[in-house]
Amino acid sequence: MASFYELCCRECGKRFPNQPLSACDECFSSLEVAYDLAAAKQTFTREAIARGPQSMWRYQALLPVPDDYIPTTPSGMTPLMAAPRLAKRIGATNLYLKNDAVCLPTLSFKDRVVSVALAAAKNFGFDTVGCSSTGNLANAVAAHAARLGLKTYILVPTDLEPAKILNTRVYGANLVRIDGNYDQVNRLCTQIAERYEWGFVNVNLRPYYAEGSKTVGYEIAEQLGWRLPDNVVVPMAGGALISKIRKAFGELIELGLVENKPVRFFGAQATGCSPIAHAVKNGLSHHEPQRPNTIARSLAIGNPADGHYAIKVITQSGGWSEDVSDPELVECIQMLAETEGVFTETAGGVTVATLKKLIETGQLDPEAETVIINSGDGLKTLDAVADRVGPKVTIPASYDAFVKAGLQ
């Protein structure tokens, strides 16, 4: 049986046939993909999933791609690691790290969303794709498009880290640097997408793209032995990831793959760009836009498209949101590396630092089973820790000098 999906307005519920479209023509609200879950009960079973590939494509029956789509890249299915040494350091007892720093092929969770977005782009017949990006998405679009033979235009803000520019250009993508911040780049992309016949993964393909994030939620549940954790702590930029993990858990409950239980959602932001955390802490249902100023550039979205939905997920679940300073996030990049052997990028530093703060302030129960999301690899943001991790000493190449240095 063919799996069924179509677009649905998140506010007024109006349905649309599958097409490159991200906003409702009635109320301007964002569209998302709706599935026939009753039909999926036949195809989306624990057994069928277990027979699938060791990648996010084992969940293809609940992703918006045609049944006959053959994926080319094994993104996802990243490790869910127990993190006892980090837990001990921050006073928790039951902590897991979902480690998308090793997501293939570009070492961030963006490989998941781009996998789905480009499947949709192929399905709609686009030969050119693009995105606005704070870096990780640029890397992912460039790599996946290269493998699929698509032409690529990628727009980035002017202050992006050199590693993220290099990791985009190497795949042959047309990189356009914009003299402005991410929100300005994003606005420009929206205007371009209206006039050019291009598939912008996070503009006109956004409903399909965002669905890729659900696989983080499916994997967490499957890797815990088909059950849900008590808490998840999620980094927030545009706010889609946290909402999609919630959606994934909801689908698993509805399909009977996991037992229903309350899961608290906690959102992590950098203080220099914290519109969602600010709204949660001040009891607002909608965020106020901010002008970003933080080294956590992959989270530096001042006007998050899914801000409203992230706020809703957090508050309805009984969770909370916190924000942390740049020095705090840098300290936590190092803490995660030293305790668990995982080198995270700035966004992961934000997530660990937020977890630490949530425990310190009593917002998160340190005994509860908590999963934190590490969204990207530390090699992409070396500058953040460069001045903290030099050699211990520099000595001449002689045994005497080594002994004299007193290294023991």
Partner: protein
């Protein structure tokens, strides 16, 4: 006071398909009134029942998001440009 307004695809049914139209006004509020006189109904798509900007619409005067300035009272100079853009792009 002539002002150019960029109309997103979603609202072009109101402007007979035009992506850019010229209207009058020295504040965003006046521009939207003038726009509604020429293209009846369009204002109600940009503003909600209480007369505020809809949550999922971003409006820019020249290059600045009006939420960072005076909102509907943001002033617009002669020859200025207003862009109406759905707020559903970007991020993750």
């Amino acid at each position: 006071m002539s002002v150019s307004v960029r109309v997103p695809t979603i609202l072009r049914p109101y402007t007979q398909g035009a992506s850019e139209v010229s209207v009058e006004g020295s504040t965003l509020s006046e521009v939207l009134e003038s726009l509604d006189t020429s293209y009846p109904g369009i204002k109600g798509r940009v503003l909600d029942e209480s007369g505020e900007l809809r949550r999922f619409v971003n409006v820019y005067v020249d290059n600045d998001d009006v939420r960072f300035s005076e909102g509907l009272q943001t002033s617009i100079k002669d020859g200025g440009q207003v862009s109406i853009i759905p707020a559903v792009a970007g991020g993750c």
